[in-house]
């Protein structure tokens, strides 16, 4: 019942908020400083991206992005208020000003970028949509899924991609869509569908954490879409947009220049490399251009590590997901992660 009326409530809240608040610009940073926390919209729990543990501590790639921003802006990566949102609520919540930033593995698409009143900031994960199937069906390619039933979550780009891809291949399939992510994968593991589809990163998490026996399931080789995941902010506040863009970017740059959570203090004291110096806060003061201080990127890296460390801890070898670096490697190591120059 609760989750059913929540989108409606969010819409009503959005109407009221829009009606009550005058159009504001450039005020998010002030509001964040005054409040003392960054309000960060996340998922209800997607392993590796944003998920609470049994004590209610959030972790994940998206969570770390928010922590890095909080560290840069407020000086403490713990000063984040996480607001769990389902996929239908997420946009209304950001539009209504309920959150300062939405880091909820959201795909950057033209429609979302151009018509919802948002700016996507920096791609933090290059994902693609795939399929999880039970091994006993002996399916080795998504093209063999003719007349199969596929479970997925409503209101995602995944739902549309499935329709597009199978239509292009001229393969009839049936999709069953559920309002909640949980209901959709539970129905799949109960055997309602022959395949489950979502971003491959989430598939790995499901297989390893939710499947009755992970070895009974296999992820098919096809990637049917590009899913660049990025945080978003509201339009009309360029200052906050710049911060939300450059903090994650600084983490990618930090990896390229070999700055880690462990060696940053040492580098701050001794590094002679100007590129490193700018990132650790011992070189030019770039922070003031963002409305922050000189140590903005030092604090962000100190709080969550560089992008590579974030990846390894949340979705890479040190996590349950064990995802390969793949497209998310640095540009000079064969991946797509290309940090814009911090100078």
């Amino acid at each position: 019942m609760n989750s059913r009326i929540r989108p409606a409530l969010a819409a009503v809240a959005a109407t009221l908020a829009f009606a009550a608040a005058p159009a504001f610009a450039g005020k998010t940073l002030d509001a964040v400083k005054q409040r003392g926390t960054v309000k960060c919209g996340v998922t209800n729990g997607v392993a590796g991206f944003s998920a609470p543990d049994t004590q209610g501590n959030w972790s994940g790639l998206d969570v770390d992005t928010c922590r890095a921003i909080a560290a840069a802006v407020l000086g403490d990566g713990k000063k984040v208020e996480f607001v769990p949102l389902n996929s239908q609520q997420r946009f209304s919540a950001l539009q209504a000003g309920e959150i300062d930033i939405l880091a909820r593995n959201t795909t950057w698409t033209l429609t979302r970028d151009a018509s919802l009143g948002f700016h996507f900031t920096t791609i933090t994960y290059y994902d693609g949509q795939g399929f999880l199937v039970p091994k006993k069906l002996k399916v080795t390619s998504a093209k063999q899924l003719k007349n199969a039933t596929i479970c997925t979550q409503a209101g995602t780009t995944n739902e549309k991609n499935v329709a597009d891809w199978f239509k292009a291949q001229n393969i009839p399939v049936k999709t069953v869509v559920f309002e909640s992510f949980e209901a959709s994968f539970k129905a799949f593991f109960a055997g309602r569908c022959q395949a489950f589809t979502t971003d491959t990163s989430a598939l790995a998490g499901l297989r390893n954490k939710e499947a009755p026996n992970p070895d009974d399931y296999v992820i098919l080789p096809e990637l049917i879409s590009k899913e660049p995941l990025a945080p978003l902010v509201r339009r009309g506040d360029d200052e906050w947009f710049a911060i939300a863009k450059w903090v994650p970017n600084a983490l990618i740059e930090a990896e390229e220049f070999g700055i880690t959570q462990a060696n940053i203090d040492e580098l701050k004291a001794s590094s002679k490399d100007p590129a490193q110096q700018r990132l650790v806060g011992s070189g030019d003061d770039l922070g003031k251009l963002l409305g922050l201080d000189k140590d903005w990127s030092y604090r962000a890296i100190k709080a969550v590590g560089n992008y590579g460390e974030m990846f390894e801890r949340n979705v890479g070898p040190k996590s349950v997901l064990k995802l390969p670096r793949g497209s998310n490697n640095l540009w000079n190591k064969g991946g797509l992660m290309y940090g814009l120059p911090v100078r």
């Binding site: 059913r4 239908q88 429609t111 151009a114 039933t149 239509k167």
Partner: protein
């Protein structure tokens, strides 16, 4: 002050109040739209003409991803009706039987009917729906190994597949049956009732029946004892007493309350979104997400439920006018 003037004043005050509220609402909406526009958020109902881009898994209306949003909404409304109508019929029949059962002379029948009512109506519908759905999907055989209930009637996690008459292109009458066939993944062909649909109809019917039972019991109890005794004196059998004398009088009490239950049932069908049945709310949710038009999609949901409810009220009020005592409406 004369009574006439007082009445006039009361009218004027009410008109003023309504005007004030209406202009307040108009101002709120206008301001919201203005702010939305200033932030680059698109709004309006123009998206209804664009292609929807998603598929709908089942329903009476053929739909594919290339068709516009309005048709997707229409398919959703039809799916809502497709679930609500059978559920309402089952609920009324079952509820009436249980209501009569609650007044039965047999202790066992009475007890069972009472147990049914008290259990079902006191557990939230959403919980029952999820429970029923997951029970269905857990317990039924895999769709690769369906169970043949009757010849050519297959039951599995993929749902219930049965032979169905189909008509040729352009023909008025069905000419032959289409038989379900076992495929590599699913049974295909014929008519298929998905587990989502079965769960929704069953849960709605069982839940509403428990309320209908109480309404029917109250209706029967409201008929004066003398009526029944008089019928008995005329030599009518138990069933005849009920059918000819008691029930027609009880209907006067039953029908208005039953109208409420039918309205609730229709609105409760929106819970189907939780188990993946593509009714109106489910489709509006998906549309809301791919277009970002939250107000518009929710406005459509509200308008449709309002329309359906008014239609049901109208039909039930007509029926009520027929069974009500003359001059007692």
């Amino acid at each position: 002050m004369s009574r006439r003037r007082a009445a006039w004043l009361a009218w004027a005050l009410q008109a003023l109040l309504i005007a004030a509220i209406a202009s307040g609402v108009v101002w709120l909406v206008q301001h919201a739209l203005e702010v939305l526009r200033s932030r680059g958020v698109h709004s309006g109902f123009d998206f209804l003409l664009q292609p929807a881009g998603f598929e709908i898994s089942e329903g009476w209306l053929d739909f594919d991803a290339g068709q516009p949003f309005w048709r997707a909404f229409l398919a959703g409304v039809i799916n809502t009706v497709r679930a609500a109508v059978p559920a309402a019929l089952i609920a009324v029949v079952l509820g009436t039987l249980i209501g009569i059962g609650r007044l039965a002379p047999h202790v066992l029948v009475r007890g069972l009917c009472r147990a049914y009512v008290e259990t079902i109506r006191n557990v939230p519908l959403l919980v029952q729906l999820l429970m029923l759905y997951f029970a269905l999907t857990q317990l039924l055989p895999d769709s690769t190994e369906p169970l043949e209930l009757l010849p050519d009637v297959w039951l599995s996690k993929g749902g219930l597949a049965l032979p169905w008459p189909v008509r040729e292109e352009g023909a008025w009458w069905p000419s032959h049956f289409e038989w379900p066939e076992r495929g590599s993944f699913n049974v295909s062909g014929g008519a298929a009732l998905s587990p989502e649909y079965l769960a929704v109809v069953t849960a709605l019917a069982l839940y509403t029946a428990s309320f209908v039972a109480e309404i029917v019991r109250a209706g029967i109890a409201s008929v004066a004892q003398g009526q029944k005794l008089a019928a008995q004196a005329l030599g009518l059998t138990g069933w005849q007493q009920l059918r000819i004398v008691v029930l027609p009088q009880a209907l006067r009490v039953i029908v208005p309350a039953l109208t409420n239950q039918l309205l609730s049932l229709t609105k409760n069908s929106s819970l189907a979104v939780a188990v993946g049945y593509p009714e109106l709310v489910s489709i509006a949710n998906t549309s809301l997400n791919s277009t970002g038009r939250a107000f518009e999609c929710i406005a459509v949901i509200m308008a449709v439920y309002l329309g359906l409810s008014l239609l049901i009220s109208w039909a039930m009020n007509r029926y009520n006018a027929r069974v009500a005592l003359r001059g007692w409406r």
